[in-house]
């Protein structure tokens, strides 16, 4: 929490609003992850709207801040009516929506999800450039790098398994895998050659004998997919179970430092 507060307090509010033709004045972000980086970097008044998901405290590390912006639901009509001069979308945005907005003459930048610390660094720089906020980006980057350096301790914390609803796990090429490795765990996904996020039969999870089981947070309502995490075999195989908060794991933002911290 301290880390996040420090980051939020950081933005140089004193910095003058960006000037010049290349600097966008009305920016709309329509992706949960770009929302957060944009909120961290934008000048006051520069960011007009963020996605409605950014207000959801289960998924967004900046839910409170997001309430200060109009919410959009990723629909072309509402975004067009906001009259933005820059739209930032995630790679998972609906293709037809992006195409329509471009046909209407809007500038739409599509950003890939950041799945590693290196990608997060690149994203900060990229969004900073899009917003014309190079100094803010450099500042955030410096603070993020310090946090990463602090979190990187080389001691071995044992073997851990990431296990989500419906029996999915993540390997080293994913953000969750990176968080796990950064926190000093050896990921059992490597035993089975898993590098991405994929289904892992519970049998294999048990056979790998993890020291620690890390699951996603439970959502309201019920689902069979989540009920799987209560299977007695898991309780017997890995008594040390950690439920982590999704909001720090979902997006490649500096908030992953909180996720790394929580695993210690």
């Amino acid at each position: 929490m301290l880390l996040g507060a420090a980051m939020l307090a950081g933005p140089a509010l004193a910095e003058a609003p960006p000037q010049g033709a290349a600097t966008p004045r009305r920016v709309v972000s329509m992706n949960l992850c770009t929302d957060q980086i944009a909120m961290l970097l934008a000048a006051p008044g520069q960011l007009v709207s963020v996605s409605d998901l950014a207000r959801n405290p289960r998924m967004s590390a900046m839910a409170d801040e997001a309430r200060g912006f109009a919410a959009n639901h990723g629909r072309a009509e509402e975004i067009y009516l906001l009259r933005p001069d820059l739209v930032i979308a995630g790679a998972f945005a609906s293709g037809p929506t992006v195409a329509l907005l471009r046909r209407l003459g809007l500038r739409v930048e599509v950003l890939e999800p950041a799945e590693s610390i290196a990608a997060i660094r690149a994203e900060i720089v990229h969004v900073g450039a899009l917003l014309g906020r190079h100094e803010a980006a450099a500042d955030l980057l410096a603070r993020f790098d310090r946090g990463v350096a602090r979190s990187a301790r080389r001691e071995d914390r044992g073997r851990a398994a990431l296990y989500y609803a419906n029996g999915f796990t993540s390997g080293r090429d994913t953000l969750a895998g990176e968080i796990l490795a950064q926190a000093g765990y050896r990921n059992i996904a490597a035993d089975y050659g898993i590098a991405t996020t994929t289904h892992l039969p519970m049998e294999l999870l048990v056979m790998a004998q993890p020291d620690r089981l890390i699951t996603g947070a439970r959502w309201p309502g019920q689902s069979r997919g989540e009920a799987l995490l209560e299977h007695p075999a898991l309780a017997r195989a890995a008594p040390r179970l950690a439920e982590v908060t999704d909001r720090d794991w979902v997006c490649g933002t500096p908030f992953i430092l909180r996720a790394i911290e929580a695993l210690r």
């Binding site: 029996g167 039969p201 049998e203 019920q222 075999a233």
Partner: protein
């Protein structure tokens, strides 16, 4: 006939053993059996007792239950197209289960889940029996079945889509297609007692089903109470299909394929078909569950996909025969 039952018994036993020995962990058979019998610490006993044993036992129970209910419904409705999965009884059970889960009822009392599924199944089979009855009309049966399945499927999808849980909507496919993956002993204990009592009810209706071969009037004149038979059938099927669906989803076609394959082997007598269809159903479902683990081990292929691939052509064949006027 004795040879048939002995053969089916051996087949079920062999498939049950094969189900225990099939899995991604690649445990050697001797080690697997030893871990199962002796227990102990370590990952192998956990895999065998907590993951594979409930799966194999549920495959046995759910398959036997579906085969038995299929044979019973066909005997009562005097129609070889009657099948709990196709005509919406399983779908209604799934709807009941989904409602119990999404309203949180299933959390408040463990029995709420099978009871809700059972209620759904009873509504489905009761509606069908009221509409189609033991008069053997295929058109009425299929029309009623289509309507009930559509309603149940839509209701299930609606409830799951309205859920605040992001994973719930993805579970429509489980409820429509069924799976035995990663079930636990808790599921078995929840489902088995009602399923056994349902089986006892259906078996007790065997002679009544035999008498129905001659029509409702002749059966009633032979002392078979129509109301008693109807009650036993509705309750028996609901007690089996409800809990089976609550733990394994709606698995179609087992109740259609198995009685069809075995009918001529037991001289077509409905009462003799009941135990044969139960054993055949267990064999089919265990085989299908082994196949989903061998064909696409990393994909959690749904059981209903396989049973439909086997069953749907047979269903078309039956319709064809019925359409051309002959009874099957």
């Amino acid at each position: 006939m004795r040879a048939l039952f002995a053969g089916l018994g051996l087949l079920v036993a062999a498939l049950w053993l094969a189900s225990l020995l099939t899995g991604p962990a690649g445990i050697a058979p001797a080690e697997a059996i030893a871990a199962l019998v002796r227990g102990g610490e370590g990952p192998v006993p956990i895999v065998m007792t907590e993951i594979r044993l409930p799966r194999a036992l549920l495959g046995l129970a759910v398959g036997a239950g579906l085969g038995l209910s299929g044979a019973a419904m066909q005997g009562y409705l005097r129609n070889p197209l009657a099948e709990p999965g196709l005509i919406g009884v399983s779908g209604m059970a799934a709807l009941g289960a989904v409602i119990a889960i999404q309203t949180g009822l299933a959390l408040s009392a463990p029995l709420a889940l099978p009871v809700a599924a059972l209620t759904g199944a009873a509504l489905g089979v009761g509606l069908l029996v009221a509409l189609a009855g033991p008069r053997g009309g295929s058109v009425t049966l299929i029309l009623a079945g289509v309507a009930i399945s559509a309603l149940a499927g839509a209701g299930t999808a609606l409830v799951l889509n309205l859920s605040p849980n992001p994973y719930a909507a993805n579970e429509i496919v489980f409820w429509l297609m069924g799976s035995l993956a990663d079930r636990s002993m808790q599921h078995l204990w929840l489902a088995l007692p009602p399923m056994l009592s349902g089986a006892a009810l259906i078996v007790s209706a065997g002679r009544g089903l035999d008498a129905l071969t001659l029509g409702e009037g002749a059966a009633a004149a032979m002392g078979v109470s129509p109301a008693g038979l109807r009650w036993r059938l509705v309750a028996g099927v609901a007690l089996i299909v409800g809990p089976a669906t609550a733990v394994a989803g709606a698995i179609g076609f087992v109740g259609l394929v198995v009685p069809h394959l075995l009918r001529s082997r037991v001289g077509a007598r409905p009462s003799a078909l009941l135990p044969a269809a139960a054993m055949g159903g267990a064999a089919l479902l265990l085989a299908a569950d082994i196949a989903v683990r061998l064909i696409l081990p990393e994909r959690d292929l749904k059981l209903g996909v396989l049973t439909a691939i086997v069953g749907a052509p047979l269903f078309l064949h039956l319709i064809w025969k019925t359409r051309s006027g002959g009874r099957v």
